[in-house]
Subunit: 196 residues, 2 copies
């Protein structure tokens, strides 16, 4: 008998499906990936996906919600035990990158929000907006506490997020590259912002 806490087979499969879908969407885009592409990664038939999801749109939607969840998680965790804004930023970047290239990934990049149904689109946009604001808030905190040099937070935030979001376009699973990403990218992104 399943308790509320243990994941059911259903939930596990659904999660596998979302990760497979994220991989496809990152590579070929929403409309560019067919349900067959996704189901093939799972060793299933395209029709089987409808057992887990109402339609293709809902599949992307769920991928995007999952992406937002993981992003938020990366951000929450970053606050723990960090001394200042710069450190929070660095930890957040590490966490987020880890989620993209590590076991729990890939994270679907929200590059086709316009394809969502209006209600879903609004919801995802809102999540995305909050995430951006939270990140900019970290930058501001760092500027206030002196750990980050003064900058246009909007622009800087978008620049850094762009680097992160572009990763799936050139990273295709090579483990060595994954390690380099973990080890070096956070520093590279944070470098210019460090207050002297």
């Amino acid at each position: 008998m399943a308790t509320e806490l243990e994941a059911t087979r259903f939930q596990l499969q659904k999660d596998r499906m979302l990760r497979a879908a994220a991989r496809c969407f990152n590579q070929k885009g929403f409309s560019g990936t067919s349900l067959k592409d996704v189901s093939a990664l799972l060793g299933l038939t395209d029709a089987a996906l409808y057992y887990y999801v109402r339609n293709k749109e809902e599949l992307v939607y769920l991928c995007y919600v999952r992406a937002a969840d993981l992003g938020r998680e990366a951000m929450m965790e970053a606050q723990n035990g960090a001394r200042n804004g710069h450190e929070i930023m660095l930890r957040y970047l590490r966490n987020h990158i880890e989620m993209m290239v590590g076991e729990r990934g890939p994270i679907a990049i929200m590059s086709e929000v316009p394809s969502l149904d209006p209600a879903h689109r609004e919801e995802v946009l809102e999540l995305s907006r909050r995430h951006s604001i939270a990140f900019e808030e970290i930058l501001r905190a760092g500027i206030r506490d002196g750990s980050i040099s003064d900058c246009n937070v909007r622009m800087t935030g978008n620049a850094i997020m762009g680097s992160i979001n572009w990763i799936p376009k050139w990273f295709h699973g090579d483990p060595e590259m994954a390690q380099q990403l973990r080890d070096e990218l956070p520093e590279i992104l944070a470098l210019g912002l460090k207050a002297d």
Copy 2:
């Protein structure tokens, strides 16, 4: 009588078409944009596009080739009269951003190369590869001449290109933002790399 040099009506329309297509593709992706989306921007019917292009695939292909041309142009121009690697990089970034947000833009972001026909895909990948290498070469030159601090050029190059390529996802034509992008983004991207 038209000389070889002056652009024909045909070429001008075709170029308008490529810019309209680039705008759509950047916003909704290759498969996400219908030919109607593109033709609507031109005040035409979808079928009219076939006068200029064999099919939809060729339309993206041409957008990508145009993007590569403009990118190369931005890079060539950057070499002129620059003192060192860091300055070349800065000028290149300015040029490229100008092309994205200015009159000649938008530049189609090569985010769906996998959707191209094999031959076109190879060609575009090659162009893209060359561009990356050229950019990394600028970084290396800057490191050599002491104007750029030592760094992982592959990773740094991808990070900066990611920021650039992500712009169309959040920039939607606001002229004020365009100006901010021109004025501030190059410095932001180059900041961390400046040798002290």
